[in-house]
């Protein structure tokens, strides 16, 4: 065959239809912005009664609860099919990944299915977030002793 991997890679790049960048970005910006706006409204409302840190925690718990609730009937998935990063990047996307895995692996049992797979998608975020914070903690400790 008149084909080699290098020239084929070029052919494939040319043939692949580009993502609708403008539309993708508009959706991501609008939906992501709205989720944050909702969060801000909640944060303000909670801040009327609670300390700022507690209001922040309550806001993220509420958003996570709403995202899990929207995951059950499949609404979050339907929105995400258009919104892309707009639903992926906010903490609601994190909640959707945990809730959808829990629902999906119920068929394999509560321990070996749900328990083992629940953080299948969110796990790397927790793992490397915690690791990065540990590294920063170590540096911060060294800096505060040095300084």
């Amino acid at each position: 065959m008149k084909l080699d991997p290098q020239s084929y890679a070029r052919m494939v790049r040319r043939a692949a239809p580009p993502s609708a960048l403008g539309r993708d970005c508009a959706w991501a910006f609008a939906v992501g912005g709205c989720i944050c706006l909702l969060g801000e409204a909640m944060r303000r409302a909670y801040a009327l009664r609670f300390a700022p840190d507690l209001a922040g925690t309550l806001t993220s718990i509420t958003l996570i609860g709403l995202a899990a609730a929207a995951t059950v009937p499949g609404w979050y998935q339907k929105l995400a099919a258009r919104a892309g990063a707009g639903t992926l990047v906010p903490s609601t996307g994190f909640a959707n990944s945990v809730a959808s895995a829990a629902i999906e692996f119920k068929a394999e049992g509560w321990v070996t299915g749900v328990g083992a797979h629940i953080f299948q998608i969110a796990g790397p975020v927790i793992a490397y977030g915690t690791l990065a914070s540990w590294v920063w903690g170590l540096l911060y400790w060294a800096m505060s002793r040095g300084g």
Partner: protein
């Protein structure tokens, strides 16, 4: 009897596809071939039958399709001497569990989305050699079972890339009989060689499988001493829109113009309306297109001779994550319209 010419087996007395059936889910039922499906499932979860997993649902889908095919042929399961069947699930469980219910001699196949051509080619070879009087060739795929095995949980929110393909919830079954039986003839079969041109993008299967399709087509044209124009249609399994474009470009380089080409991935869905991105895929996609469209066209005499080339991508989740490129395979089956009293 058969004649071997390079990778191609020619059958001077063509075995016959005596009966066929296709079953599809809701989305497939709403597609261009929806009306031609033997059964459209309103609910592909089979929840009403007490089915609780997508793997089990696919197995039931395949069983439905086999029973439809046997009923159309007027044959009982007991009379079936061998079944070649395959699907996309790990360890081919959809087929194995369907065959547990059917109770027929069973040889499981895995050729990813190329499995229907592989099964049909083997069934025809067995029929031509006189090894089996009534042989089934069956494949299925189920969007939900494939999604949870190869991608993400179904309720997880993700956006598909424009080159991605949609796994069909569909099954197709053919009953193959030796020459002399009425039905669509199998004039030759070509088993493909694995081709790998270093495509690593799991969301662009059409590109990964194109070299296999091109390789098998060239082998076919060589062995049959034919060109694309000698067929009423050259039909690839599921290269989708992207893979099809690449195939035209490659065959032009090889000196063939492919202007009577169709692709099962683009036949099963309306790409503009049904949000399937580059088109359909899955072992059931080409099987359903074959049984709902290609075979009826031949049986009605609207086509005389077509080449059915189903393509498959042979990676696993593990090899993909380990950074290996995606090998492709394609098998070809040459189909001819029934002649004289053989007309179905």
């Amino acid at each position: 009897m058969s004649i071997r010419r390079r990778d191609t087996l020619l059958f001077p007395d063509p075995p016959a596809i005596a009966a066929w059936a296709a079953v599809g889910g809701k989305k497939e039922g709403e597609g261009p071939l929806g009306a031609a499906l033997d059964e459209r499932l309103a609910d592909a979860s089979f929840a009403a039958e007490g089915c609780t997993s997508w793997e089990d649902a696919e197995s039931r889908l395949q069983q439905r399709c086999i029973r439809r095919c046997l009923r159309k042929a007027g044959v009982t399961a007991r009379q079936v001497e061998l079944a070649f069947a395959g699907d996309l699930q790990a360890q081919c469980t959809a087929s194995a569990y369907a065959m547990r219910a059917m109770g027929v001699p069973f040889a499981g196949l895995y050729g990813a989305c190329s499995t229907m051509a592989e099964a049909l080619a083997l069934a025809a070879a067995f029929a031509a050699a006189g090894y089996s009087e009534r042989t089934l060739a069956v494949t299925s795929s189920h969007f939900c079972a494939a999604e949870r095995q190869f991608r993400t949980p179904l309720n997880y929110g993700g956006k598909r890339t424009p080159t991605a393909q949609w796994t069909a919830t569909a099954a197709g079954a053919c009953l193959v009989r030796p020459a002399g039986a009425p039905g669509v003839g199998v004039a030759s079969v070509t088993f493909g060689r694995v081709q790998d041109y270093a495509v690593r993008d799991i969301n662009n299967m059409g590109a990964a499988m194109m070299p296999a399709a091109a390789g098998t087509l060239l082998a076919c044209f060589g062995a049959l001493r034919a060109a694309p124009q000698d067929f009423d249609a050259v039909i690839t399994g599921d290269l989708g829109a992207v893979g099809s474009e690449l195939l035209y470009a490659q065959l032009r380089k090889e000196g063939f113009s492919l202007d009577n080409h169709l692709d099962c991935g683009c036949l099963l869905y309306d790409r503009d309306e049904q949000h399937v991105k580059a088109g359909g895929s899955g072992a059931g996609c080409s099987a359903a297109a074959l049984c709902a469209y290609i075979l009826p066209q031949l049986a009605a005499g609207r086509w005389r001779r077509v080449l059915f080339v189903a393509t498959g991508a042979l990676m696993s989740q593990a090899t993909f994550l380990q950074g290996q490129s995606i090998p492709g395979i394609a098998h070809a089956v040459e189909l001819i319209a029934p002649t004289g009293e053989g007309r179905a």
